[in-house]
Subunit: 248 residues, 2 copies
């Protein structure tokens, strides 16, 4: 999510190959070069694919010979997104080719959100597709979701304000995740949270939020109660005042 | 949705073949045999398929020779659901076979919700799959959704009570549809509403709700405001009180 003050990122940690094979894996990564740049990636989709992308980015960032093509040296966030997109597309298509194109395209698919800022430029937020191309967030579309996006989307649409505080943004995202967690077993606690302040280039705040977290529990319980109270406060439909309109 | 007092059904009316080809078609049908039985069907998926199912049910119900195999004569709601499921599966698979099985299975797919009551028995609610099999609602799973189910689901999960009034249930379903309408262009006004009272066998209330409907507008506006107020009332996250836990 892109705010006037910076960027707020949240991810879950559940991966599954069917409901009987559930694991916890980190889906949020970041690289901070204090005073220079901070770059974060969140992943969704095939875990082998996304881990391969992250590992190759890590290796390139460490190997001096690859510095021209890494997160540390790319001159703009646009080029960072291009590098990551090309790497993602390459890994998916190589794996698909190795296994015969037919069933494989979807199997190895993954998408990513890339967020960050390079000194002297604005914070940027990108959504990278499995095909390697990407779109950038603007204040018309100030947040991206990947993975299971639907259950948590209505509250994001309604609750977002570009000038909201980081604290309110984390609240909004926690509520959004709570709706998704309650509806879809493939999304699960703990959540990872990263707050990136504008022009700071180090994480302003990072945290893993598990099911015992008092704040998460307060939001989860409080939101259920608040929704029911909000629903109660709306006027009931009134059948008796309606003309009986036979529509069939 | 199944309540102690009966059944409440709501459907939208939008169909599309791509965003540039949007039409309005009824997706809710009912047959009432006063004093005897009331049966309603809601549809999602391929419009040619669902209209074929409805047309064939209509014809059978009118033809005396087919009476043994129609909505009017089936002795239980289970048998009604079986008849509709078989018909749906037959229409999809015939169309798929005619066009070569390969790409066709999904193309002609559709699903249905069947709700109703036959005198002397309980009201029943079924979800029928494209394969012709079906599941029945219980008070553990007291409502079904077909089509675009996700955006509107969290509020249904939280707002449902089996002993709620019809008026509250309509409110809940209007809120649920409003979230979906705001998120997905393939769902559109007007909405069709049908209320079936237990042991009544004629519609208690039926109505088409369009965008000018004062109740719909009150709910749509009121719910946005109520959500934002509910969100404001929850405690903000507090970054400063958290131990800085470096998680990577």
């Amino acid at each position: 999510m892109m705010l006037d003050r910076g960027l707020v990122l949240m991810s879950d940690t559940r991966t599954n190959s069917g409901v009987d094979n559930i694991s916890t894996f980190r889906k949020m990564y970041h690289w901070s070069f204090p005073g220079e740049r901070i770059i974060s990636i969140m992943t969704a989709g095939n875990l082998a694919t996304t881990q391969a992308v992250i590992s190759q980015l890590e290796e390139r960032t460490k190997a001096p010979s690859e510095r021209h093509n890494c997160l540390l040296e790319a001159p703009t966030m646009y080029q960072v997104a291009t590098i990551i997109g090309n790497l993602l597309q390459d890994i998916i298509s190589t794996r698909a080719t190795d296994n015969g194109q037919k069933a494989a395209a979807g199997t190895f698919s993954a998408s990513m959100i890339v967020a960050g800022q390079i000194k002297g430029m604005e914070p940027r937020l990108y959504l990278i597709y499995p095909e390697g191309n990407f779109i950038e967030a603007s204040y018309d579309t100030p947040f991206f979701q990947i993975g299971e996006t639907k259950y948590g989307r209505p509250i994001l649409i309604r609750g977002y304000d570009r000038d909201m505080s980081f604290e309110s943004a984390v609240k909004l995202m926690t509520v959004s995740f709570d709706s998704t967690l309650k509806a879809n077993l493939s999304v699960g606690l703990p959540l990872d949270l990263l707050v990136i302040g504008r022009d700071e280039f180090v994480p302003k705040h990072e945290r893993r939020i598990d099911g015992n977290d008092p704040y998460f529990r307060a939001i989860s319980t409080g939101w259920s109660e608040a929704l029911r109270a909000a629903l109660d406060a709306l006027p009931d439909y009134r059948m008796e005042q309606r003309a009986y309109e036979r529509v069939r």
